[in-house]
Each structure stands twice: as structure tokens, then as C-alpha cells.
């Protein structure tokens, strides 16, 4: 194996990793504020894909409009899920909310199965994202280059919101202390809705790029990337946004490299993400960026 291939695979891994990272951010933020592992989060990726598919292939919208509308609609779906399914359980035991999240996941998967059918749909990839570029003999698919750039832009915007706006500040404070945030005159339900909106928006973004990478979509497509993104969030230290992004990159890059370096193990590539997670947690149980589980950090 020569340097060219390593470089190609690395770019490929970074691109895949940024997709995991975008989804992992949603897991980590929701966990940060309401201590819930939102198992329906991976399915929001799928929702985003189908919304974008509908926009382009059925409503014939320009791709950018379809993408944007899909992300906004997915954000709304995330907010509605919280209001309908999780909010009534805010003071219930955590396990009730967790089981509800699994129920929501099944609900989303099966609703889309009913609406769109189980036959995979071909996702229409806009020409901007198709094709490849050749840099000094190394060929990079456009999508592999664009994905991490887009992910980085949105990560920067998110960090700006978290650290420079009052609602972002409230999100960080909320991850530490619910009651005290309320007595500051903050509408906590509104802040939680914002967290779900942001998380779902990013999951839909990730879903759309996932669909352009692997352009056959079905209603169960969100499960595996969702699980890996969850692994990424835990790996990075759940509750930490930067940790989620780092965890995503690590899982993505290691998955690609394992396949590239040991082609005979390619069939086990999904297992490696989790193996890696187990390995890291053995040595650092709170994840890479996790320090104190009792404290919010993003």
C-alpha cells in the first residue's frame, strides 16, 4: 500500500467521521441537558434523508432548498418528539424516558416504512456533490472533501451559539443545574426545545450527506450510523460537544483504516467501532473529554 492510498483513505475516514460527529453532537447535547440517551436520534438522520429526497425527487425543489427545508423540518420533528414523548416524563425515572426513546425510534422507522415503503430509494445526488477531483494524482470524491468542511462550519456555528449567546449559555448552565436556571427567569422548556432543534438539524444534515455518500436509502438506514454516533459521543465523553466531534472523527477514521489496512476484516468493520469504544472506556471510563460525570461541560 502506498502513500496515495493512505491519503485517500484518510480523507475518506475524516469525511465519514464528520458525519458521525454531527450526529454524536445531538446525542451529547440532549444527554447534557436532560440526561437522556435519545435512541431515536439516529432515526432523525433517516427522517432528514427522506425529507430531502421528497423535496428533490417529488416536489422538484432546487437541491439547496430541499436540503435546508429538510433540516428545518427535521428540527421541528425533534422538537415535537420531545414535547410529545419526553416532556411528560421529565420527572419520571430515567429508564422510563429511555424506553420511550426506543419506542419513538420504532415509531419513526415504521411510520416511514408505511409512507415510503421498504424498497430502497435512489437518493438524487446533486451534480455539485458528484464527481471527483484529482490532486497530484490522488483522486478525492467531491463529497469526501465537502463533507468535513460543511461539518466544521456547522460545528463552529454551534460553538459560537453555545459560548456567545445567552441561550447557549443557558444550555451550558442547564447541563449543570436545572432548578437554578429556572429561577434566573429562563424558560427551561424553550431551551430544551432549542437543544432538540439543533441536534435534529445537525442529524438531518449528516443524514443528507450520508445519503449522497451511499445513495440508496431505506427507513432503517439510521440505525447503524446512529449507534456508531452514540459510541462516538460516549468515546468523546458524553456531555461534551467537542468530545462528540473528536469521537466521531476517531470512529470514522479507524473504521476506514481498518478496512483499508486489513481488507480481510472488512466484514467486521461495524464491530470495530464498538471494540474501540470498549477499549477506550477500559482506560478512561468517562471518555476522552469527560472529566466529571456530575458536571456539565459543553
Amino acid at each position: 500500500m502506498n502513500l496515495t492510498i493512505v491519503l485517500q483513505q484518510l480523507v475518506n475516514g475524516i469525511s465519514l467521521g464528520s458525519l458521525y460527529g454531527l450526529v454524536a453532537i445531538g446525542y451529547t447535547m440532549v444527554y447534557g441537558v436532560i440526561r437522556l440517551i435519545n435512541f431515536a436520534h439516529g432515526d432523525i438522520m433517516m427522517v432528514g434523508m427522506y425529507f430531502a429526497f421528497t423535496g428533490i425527487a417529488m416536489l422538484f425543489l432546487p437541491w439547496w432548498a430541499a436540503f435546508l427545508l429538510s433540516m428545518l423540518a427535521s428540527a421541528l420533528v425533534g422538537v415535537i418528539i420531545d414535547r410529545v414523548a419526553y416532556k411528560p416524563l421529565r420527572n419520571a425515572s430515567r429508564i422510563s424516558a429511555l424506553i420511550t426513546a426506543i419506542g419513538v425510534s420504532f415509531f419513526l422507522e415504521n411510520s416511514f416504512l408505511v409512507i415510503y415503503g421498504g424498497v430502497p430509494k435512489a437518493f438524487p445526488v446533486p451534480s455539485v456533490f458528484g464527481g471527483a477531483i484529482n490532486i497530484h494524482g490522488v483522486i478525492f470524491p467531491n463529497i469526501a472533501i465537502i463533507t468535513p468542511i460543511v461539518a466544521m462550519i456547522f460545528l463552529m456555528i454551534l460553538l459560537f451559539i453555545l459560548h456567545k449567546t445567552k441561550y447557549g449559555m443557558a444550555m451550558r448552565a442547564l447541563s449543570f443545574d436545572f432548578e437554578t436556571v429556572r429561577i434566573m427567569g429562563v424558560n427551561v422548556d424553550l431551551v430544551i426545545s432549542m437543544v432538540f432543534a439543533i441536534g435534529s438539524f445537525l442529524a438531518a444534515l449528516s443524514g443528507i450527506f450520508w445519503a449522497m455518500r451511499y445513495p440508496a436509502i431505506n427507513p432503517l438506514i439510521g440505525i447503524m450510523p446512529g449507534l456508531k454516533a452514540f459510541a462516538a459521543a460516549v468515546l468523546g465523553g458524553i456531555g461534551s460537544v467537542t468530545g462528540a466531534a473528536i469521537g466521531g472523527f476517531i470512529i470514522g477514521i479507524s473504521e476506514i483504516l481498518v478496512v483499508a489496512l486489513f481488507p480481510s476484516l472488512a466484514g467486521y468493520k461495524d464491530a470495530f467501532a464498538f471494540l474501540f469504544l470498549i477499549f477506550v472506556l477500559l482506560f478512561k471510563p468517562t471518555g476522552i473529554m469527560g472529566e466529571d460525570l456530575e458536571r456539565g461541560r459543553f
Binding site: K166, M169, D177, E179, R182, I183
Partner: protein
């Protein structure tokens, strides 16, 4: 300013506050004293809306007992919670910003200046994480954070808890100063001697009911209070 009528707080089957009545008049310092578990903190939590009470709570003549906490806070009541509960993962400045969450941007700068004048230590450490402050400094931050909303009624839950006597004196001096500037204060304390010296009027809570009430200076002289809360024979 605040009238509490027949206030009851239940936690499941536990009846923590049993039909108490009290008033906090404009511009006064009123204190609720009593032992641990007497229902003092529950009373404050009921007023700010963190627990749902039965009974009537009138703030400036308006019934607030069924309003959500954030709207009660916005109507002009601030609580300095027990144990200070500053946001340790935010900087001092961000903590103050949280306190003034519903203030317009242009209102914030003068408020910060006011807080830094009142608590110079906070200015030096404006960009440090609140978790790095000492207990006394965190208490000052918690008070400053509450003042950022310019509340008409400032409530404090055990501000002296866990602080060295010298720091307690400092905190109480600041409360006296705030009151002189016209701030109405409702103070909950186990440290009865200090609280009664500061306050205009006091209520003694026992097992969720008011056992005694009166002018604070009178309560300080009261034999029963001296024996049970001031540790004198």
C-alpha cells in the same frame, strides 16, 4: 410586598409546611428562622415556584402560586438558593449574565459595574470559572447573580451556611447595605442570632408551623428563642 396565606407544601405524604401565614412589607428585612427541616427552604421554594404549594401567595397584590418558576422570577423575585448553586462551569461574568437573563443588552453593562462595586473580588476574577472561587466568594457571586435581575424582593436561603464567621459578617453587612438602598429582603437562616440582629421582623418555624413571630429585637430578647435557637441556658 409579599403576603403568604395558609401556605401548605407536600412532598408525597410528607406535609412539610402546614398552613403558615406571613408578610414581607416593602423595604423591610424579614427572617424565617428555625431548625433543619422546619420547612424554611420549602417555603422559599414554594414562593419562587420550584414546588407547587397549596394556599395563596400574593406578590404586589397578584396571586403567583400557580405561575411557573421562570415567570415568577421575571415578575421581580430572586432567590439565592441554599448551597449557593453558582454555575461552576461558567465564568463569573457568565454567571452574572445568567442572573440578568431577561435584561436588554444595554442594561447589562451598568449592572455589571454595580455588582463589581458591591463585590470587588468578582471584578478581579470576571473571566475565571465560578468553580474556582472559595465558598465565601461563591456566596457573593450567588447574591450578585440574583441582584442582576434587579428584583424587588430578594430571598436568601441559608447564606451563612458553611462560611467562616468573618465572611458571614461581611455577607450580612452587604445585605444591610442592600436594604438601606431600598431592597426588600426575605432571609431564611439557621443562624438565628445573626439573622435577628439584621432583620426588622422574624418568624420562628417549627415542624412546618409558625411557633413565634414578632419584631426581631423582641425575639432576640425572648427566653424561648434564646434557649432553643441561640444556645443559651
Amino acid at each position: 410586598m409579599l403576603e403568604v396565606k395558609d401556605l401548605n407544601v407536600f412532598y408525597g405524604v410528607i406535609h412539610a409546611v402546614k398552613g403558615i401565614n406571613f408578610n414581607v412589607p416593602d423595604g423591610k428585612i424579614v427572617t424565617l428562622i428555625g431548625a433543619n427541616g422546619a420547612g424554611k427552604s420549602s417555603t422559599l421554594k414554594a414562593i419562587i415556584g420550584l414546588v407547587r404549594p397549596k394556599g395563596e401567595i400574593l406578590f404586589k397584590g397578584k396571586e403567583i402560586s400557580k405561575m411557573p418558576a421562570h415567570l415568577i422570577a421575571r415578575s421581580g423575585i430572586a432567590l439565592v438558593p441554599e448551597g449557593r448553586r453558582v454555575f461552576v462551569n461558567l465564568t463569573i461574568l457568565e454567571n452574572l449574565r445568567m442572573g440578568g437573563f431577561n435584561k436588554e443588552l444595554h442594561e447589562l453593562e451598568p449592572l455589571y459595574e454595580k455588582m463589581f462595586e458591591l463585590f470587588p473580588i468578582l471584578k478581579e476574577r470576571a473571566y475565571q470559572k465560578a468553580g474556582t472561587l472559595s465558598g465565601g466568594e461563591q456566596q457573593m457571586l450567588a447574591i450578585a447573580r440574583a441582584l442582576m435581575s434587579e428584583p424587588e424582593l430578594l430571598m436568601l436561603d441559608e447564606p451563612s451556611l458553611g462560611l467562616a464567621p468573618l465572611i458571614v459578617a461581611e455577607v450580612f453587612d452587604i445585605l444591610k447595605e442592600l436594604n438601606k438602598q431600598g431592597r426588600t429582603i426575605l432571609l431564611v437562616e439557621q443562624n438565628a442570632a445573626q439573622a435577628l440582629k439584621l432583620a426588622d421582623y422574624g418568624y420562628v418555624l417549627e415542624n412546618g408551623t409558625i411557633a413565634l413571630e414578632g419584631e426581631a429585637s423582641g425575639l432576640l430578647e425572648n427566653d424561648e428563642v434564646r434557649k432553643r435557637y441561640l444556645g443559651e441556658d
